[in-house]
Subunit: 343 residues, 2 copies
DNA sequence: TTGAAAGCGGTACCAC
DNA sequence: GTGGTACCGCTTTCAA
């Protein structure tokens, strides 16, 4: 009457326990659990009753180990609390769930060292695949990953020399659309406040800013300042540039962090300079004036990356692909303002 | 010269492969890999060399299966993209990482059915513990979880009849502080726009609103409207209530969704009614006037929940505990306004 | 210091 | 239809 593993310990019942109670073999229990055909209905019923009574549930770890797959994928980002990444993670999780996979999420906190450790751990777990927003630009990821043969998809920024699937955002096009929008509204002295040039995306955006300037025949702008930025740094520069004989009448920010700093700076200065922010944000519409932004679609990027990953898991052997997701200019009002002091 | 499992297949090398190449037993390889003492230095060196050469990495799944633990915990929420939950998940992930655990995140999308399925899957994976923001208030979780013996911590809302660790936010105190703030600034006709009363938190806040009203001897307010709310529903009610002989001069919102709707409604109506929002949000400071809010600390809640879970994993057998995390009123300017049309 | 063998909880393969 | 048994890759136990 006592199940095999039921001796004092609170361990969960196994198939062997069920088999013993139901007077069948383990294999038969396995058949019932997995709805395999070839079990007499009454036998199946008896087994099911015991399963129910014992509260048995299959140990997926054991199952998956035998099968050599874990039905688990991982997402490695810088910071899960960042809205950009949280939208990515929601999208990736969704794709995983649809395909009966679990998602392990991990933060590398921007540190290549930590990222490497995280990746090592994931490889040791034999996750089926990994989506990663790389912390560095060199294959810090690679020591293990490269050799592991685990499918990997890079997101948001590329890794030099890593011949892997990559999903990027159209940084160049995004900034270009911002500049063009401002120019269309008569601005000719535009400043750019970018984020830390240590980020590939920050450099991309800066370069596009400069290139577009040239392409449109604007006065070669030297008004480019890379971060990290605080309200103070933006405010001081802005104060200076707007006092210039040829004053700056509009600004473009390099990402949501800088946008925040810039909005505060603009408020402090009581100037009504025009602006286009990079990255959309909740309530952009509620600010006065509503903020025009370049919108990247993190959910779409995450979904795309996950889909690319799963296509590899399904056996797609084609050469690694880099897809660039389009951005969209969301025109509100801040881009159409005239520069100058607030009325 | 050929490793055991190296026949044509691209499977990764195992300890057996390493053992064969190094002319030692599997157990010795295991000792080296796990830095167990009692291996002659030169043997260890030889083994390490082979490990390096073969690119061997321990299969944690197999290891953990033998050990009966997975070093994995799970977080189940409604929607990972929601800023509240993303902050929670970042905090939980951090606690997990510190303790060498992996975190599996899953969205139940507010559906008890999906939540049940998700929990079943997690139990099957034998995660060591689960933090869950329950989708329903009845132990939908329980069929499996309750019996599984897996430590679980409920967050944000309690589950009726489930005698489990729970981390809540002080909804009552939060709303009370909001009402008191408004009353201190002379408001006596305050309206409350709550979220869907299907949510426990929404009801808690409503009840506190009404109770505080009574306690402060305010005119019994019938101006309570529960959601789901859109800009339109808020706008229409607000228009009506401010036109009343005894007009509403201030509002309190029940959460960030409603806050957004209310801000848009207020803007549409061009009224300058006072308001206190529930939940802090980025850029609250940039809105005109800056929005006073009741701040819950999602990161602190997530951290607390994770810590409670780990203390169970470490063997804490004390009775289930419910902790209520304090809220904080962040005073900006929107609460001190006078009602009436915008100047 | 080292190794053989059993076992974790399932699945795969093949016989009855 | 049903069962036996090897085996997934590692750890545990105990013997040498």
């Amino acid at each position: 009457m006592t199940a095999l593993s039921d001796q004092r310990t609170a361990t969960r019942p196994t198939m062997a326990d069920v088999a013993a109670e139901a007077h069948v073999s383990v294999k038969t229990v396995s058949r019932v659990v997995n709805h395999e055909p070839g079990v007499r209905p009454d036998t199946a019923e008896r087994v099911r009753a015991v399963i129910e009574r014992l509260g048995f549930r299959r140990h997926d770890g054991a199952r998956l180990m035998r099968q050599g797959r874990t039905f688990t994928i991982a997402l490695v980002v810088e910071d899960l609390a960042n809205p950009f990444y949280s939208q990515v993670s929601a999208a990736v999780e969704r794709e995983a769930r649809i395909r009966q996979h679990q998602l392990i999420t991990a933060s590398a906190e921007g540190s290549p060292t930590r990222e490497r450790a995280v990746l090592e751990a994931l490889i040791a777990r034999r996750v089926d695949g990994i989506v990663v927003v790389p912390a560095g630009e060199t294959p810090s990821a690679d020591p293990g990953v490269e050799a592991s043969g685990i499918p990997i998809v890079y997101m948001d920024r590329p890794v030099r020399g890593a011949h892997k699937d990559t999903v990027l955002s159209d940084n160049q096009g995004g900034v270009r659309s911002a500049v063009e929008h401002l120019v269309a509204h008569g601005h000719r002295q535009i400043a750019f406040f970018g984020d830390d040039p240590g980020f590939w995306t920050a450099r991309q955006r800066r370069e596009s800013f400069i290139a577009t300037h040239g392409a449109l025949g604007l006065p070669g702008s030297t008004r480019v300042s890379m971060g990290p930025h605080s309200t103070t740094t933006v405010r001081d520069l802005l104060a200076q540039w707007t006092r210039d004989p040829d004053p700056t009448t509009a600004i473009i920010t390099g990402n949501n962090r800088v946008t925040l700093a810039a909005l505060l700076a603009i408020r402090d200065l009581r100037t009504s300079i025009a602006m286009v922010g990079y990255d959309d944000f909740e309530l952009a519409e509620l600010i006065d004036p509503p903020v025009t932004v370049v919108h990247q679609d993190p959910a779409a990027m995450g979904q795309k990356a996950a889909q690319q990953l799963f296509s590899r898991l399904l056996g797609d052997e084609s050469p690694p692909q880099t897809v660039v997701m389009p951005t969209r200019l969301i025109v509100r009002a801040s881009g159409t303002r005239r520069g100058g002091p607030t009325r």
